[in-house]
Amino acid sequence: MRRSMRSEPTLRHRLVAVGCLALASASCGNNPYPDSEGSKKVLYTSFVDAPRSLDPAVAYTTSAHAITGNVYDTLLEYHYLKRPFELIPGLAKSIPEPEAIAGGRVRYRFDLRPDLVFAEDESFGLGGEGRRTRAIESQDFAFQLMRIADPAVNSPVYEPFSSIEGFGGFRERLGALRAEEEGFAGLPIREQYQRAGGVAGIRTPDVSRLEVILAEPYPQLLYWFAMPFTTPVPFEAVEYWNGEGDRERFADHPVGSGPYVVASYDKEAKIVLEANPNWYGVQHPEWKAPGATYPSEGEAGDAEAGRLDPQTVGQPLPFLERVEFIRERESIPRFNKFLQGYYDASGIAKESFDSVVLEDRISPEMAARGIELAKTVRPAVYYIGFNMDDPVVGASATASGRGLRQAMSLAIDSREYARLFQNGRGVPAEGPLPPGLFGYDADYQNPYRHVDLERARLLLVEAGYRGGVDPATGEPLRLTFDTSDTSPQGRLRFQWFVNQWRKLGIDVEIDATNYNQFQEKVRNGAYQIFMWGWVADYPDPENFLFLLTTPMARSVSGGPNTANFQNAEFDALFEAMETADNGPERAATIAAMRELLERERPWIELFHPEDYTLFHDWLKNVKPAGISNPTMKYRDIDAGRRGEQREAWNEPVLWPAGVLAVLFVAALVPGVRTYFRERQ
């Protein structure tokens, strides 16, 4: 009896020990994914900030477009490899040509591909029990365009579409009906749009044709049809996913027609996309549609970078079965997981930049691990602007102001700025247009964008500020650099500019206020110098040069021309360039505008930001776009190589556990001995 009583706890102890060992062995190892996933074509990547909304009429952030760009298909899209960017047909059979019609209006006719269907979703049950999908019709595009006009949707891109005939009128009628007619706002959304009379410039003569009529020419409108804003949206999804009861909101439940569908959406932890079996590329690979086939040509360097592999060229898309976006709030764990092979691509943690990139190239240590570096210049420009309405630095100061601006421009070294504050990431800007856009001239050298302090001092003398001294006061000329950046890092950056201008004898004071106070100063015209940036929505020079036109001046219309640059010659050139086709004539006009800006210096162009993307050699066909484009369908994974590398890199090192156990016991022994000694 006693024996059995003794043996019982021993058995229990054994079981506990076995359980602990099993638990330890099950939990040991740093692979965060199920082992069964290793051989699948699943791309693992991370995100920092959760998308606010996946409603394609609203989503306007990079994190949201990473999802919506792959879930919502568009009539047009960009060629994956070619630069400058080139539009190709997507859901449309071809790229429509503008047709001039009566009243100076312009019509675009989009002919849809046949047999297009939405991804499966329970919301289609509204159209009949058991229905899981339906065909895409031209009305679905019209519906989405009307959603952009809908004031309740609060779309951030209403303005670019306002040139569509009747767009603003529809918005006003809809708003008025909701405000005035009781019960109107409770009607199904499609009925509300019908009752508001629709948009005159959006027509659907049949289910496969969409016509868009503009009140005035706006050739750049086509670019907006390459963005998820203009995707077809089923009215059923908007009505069904209304956030009431247990239903999600449409903003969290995308229903699209793109190459991927959202299989799981937990924005706090993980977003999973899976290949959409209903996508036209999967349904009709025989069409060899440009948006559903891997391209056979690109720009120089694509072949050398392995992006034109003969085994890949011409293959039907997509290659990946699934894409997992995993939320990583902190950069250090994110980057370390990339180094372990658990993320296929990554940005570079600031703390690790110097060990990853050496002299603008991938470090030998990283290269030996098969890690590659892709650099992309974003279609953006950062600049220092002068308020041209200011009596000292502005246009009214005529030659004096111009000379001052030119001199100050000659004191700023963009390369040094990028080196100090951007880890060297950024192409020094010679003009407003970034590389990759029509009109960008890689050989162009702006004579006022290269540091030349001697020349700057001479220009100051000509401007009446010898040695930077203001003749009115006999003191160094005092200017104000206005900013809404009150962070210590911002202070450092602005102080650097101030130090450069101090070399000319000019005393610039930093006036950092919060954003609202800054906006107030801008509204009142009470600012002299500021720093700003612009990220283009689409890759056309018009999207940069309009920033300096008179109608866009802040003091004229409250527009984005914060420099208040108003120049009749520039405006005339812009008008000629805006609607011109890409060609020598347009290029010459852009060059003339550039020269005018070079001389007048409303901006000191600083840099075009560059994104550095790291990726493992098992991730194929990586070419970051810098603009919203469905990139996932082009990417591919060599899952076998990834599995091998992960295994080789992540074998657990267990001997320290033994050492720790021995140390623990060794530390206890004297104590136990003391205990027994004291007891005796």
Partner: protein, 320 residues
């Protein structure tokens, strides 16, 4: 006792009101509704969209009662919190109540083991150290405790991720999967870090209690009667040390629900700590006030519970 509880509840109401008011004042002293809107919508949206967003979320109203007595944000803030109407997150318009329910599981799966292990390891260790008081074990123990307390938890996190997950490759650097078959794999490292980071403070605190209790007359009497040292520690010292231990323990329990800010953020655990960190980073006032409100309520609740437990554990304590 009922009168006592009611009085403490009344004090608690004052505390919670004060906390809510202070949060409102501090938050809007450093930011404004435009910043909240821009954080939510992004920098590129036009001003009319920002205005529409503010109107939709009630941020277009005056902040203070003296600007508009009938319709101001401060009163609306109190009203919403008192009705437990948490509303939607400023950052993405999702229901805060849903997010609280979703985040509680991951938070508790981290904080409960952390709490239990902290007690299970901390109290016996403190007993051992106290048992060997004024020996090298005691001195070494105290030194280690002070060292452990002196190091920031951030260093523990980054150090553990580098050493244990990256170099030794025992556990994933970060991530979370609620599946019971793999959850241990993801929680092992944050729990280990949490236990080690909290160990110094806890052991030192309990040791002080035990040493103090061990020097009392009744312990000396027990020794004089020939009771063994282990029995004295277990039956006398530990039992009488329960009150200060309870203070620490009961006060901690409510905060298990609010999660751990840094551990969840660095280890990718989608709990309520991460939610709070996101709210702070994203100027998400509606989420932040909810978390602060819940924290304040739990704090008040914890204090009342502690007092009640005193009375239960120690018959000398009477709540009047």
């Amino acid at each position: 006792m009922l009168a006592y509880v009611l009085r403490r509840l009344a004090y608690g109401v004052v505390v919670v009101f004060g906390v809510l008011g202070l949060l409102f004042v501090l938050f809007f002293a450093v930011t404004d509704p435009d910043d909240i809107a821009r954080q939510s919508l992004g920098e590129r949206v036009p001003p009319d969209v920002i205005e529409a967003w503010k109107a939709d979320h009630g941020y277009d109203r005056p902040l203070w009662p003296w600007q508009d007595w009938d319709d101001n944000q401060l009163f609306a803030h109190y009203s919403a919190m008192l009705r437990f109407d948490f509303g939607r997150r400023d950052s993405d318009d999702t229901k805060i109540s849903d997010r609280l329910l979703d985040g509680m599981g991951p938070s508790l799966s981290l904080t409960v083991p952390l709490f239990v292990l902290g007690l299970v390891i901390g109290i016996p260790l403190a007993l051992v150290v106290a048992f060997f008081r004024e020996t090298y074990i005691d001195r070494l123990g105290v030194l280690l405790c002070v060292l452990a307390m002196s190091v920031s938890i951030l260093l523990y996190i980054v150090g553990a991720q580098y050493l244990i997950a990256k170099l030794l490759r025992w556990f994933p650097i970060s991530g979370f999967d609620p599946d019971p078959s793999v959850i241990v794999r993801f929680l092992a490292l944050p729990i280990l870090v949490g236990v080690v980071a909290g160990f110094g403070g806890e052991v030192r605190f309990y040791r002080t209690i035990f040493v103090e209790e061990g020097s009392r007359d009744y312990v000396r009497t027990a020794r004089a009667k020939g009771a063994g040292e282990p029995r004295i520690m277990r039956a006398h010292v530990l039992r009488n040390a329960w009150i200060p231990i309870l203070t620490q323990v009961v006060l901690s329990i409510p905060f298990l629900f609010t999660g751990s800010l840094l551990l969840e953020s660095f280890f990718g655990i989608p709990g309520l700590g991460s939610l709070t960190v996101d709210a702070i980073r994203g100027n998400d006032f509606s989420t932040l006030r909810t978390m602060v409100y819940i924290g304040a309520l739990l704090f008040v609740l914890g204090q009342i519970l502690t007092d009640l437990c005193y009375a239960l554990v120690d018959p000398r304590v009477r709540l009047e």
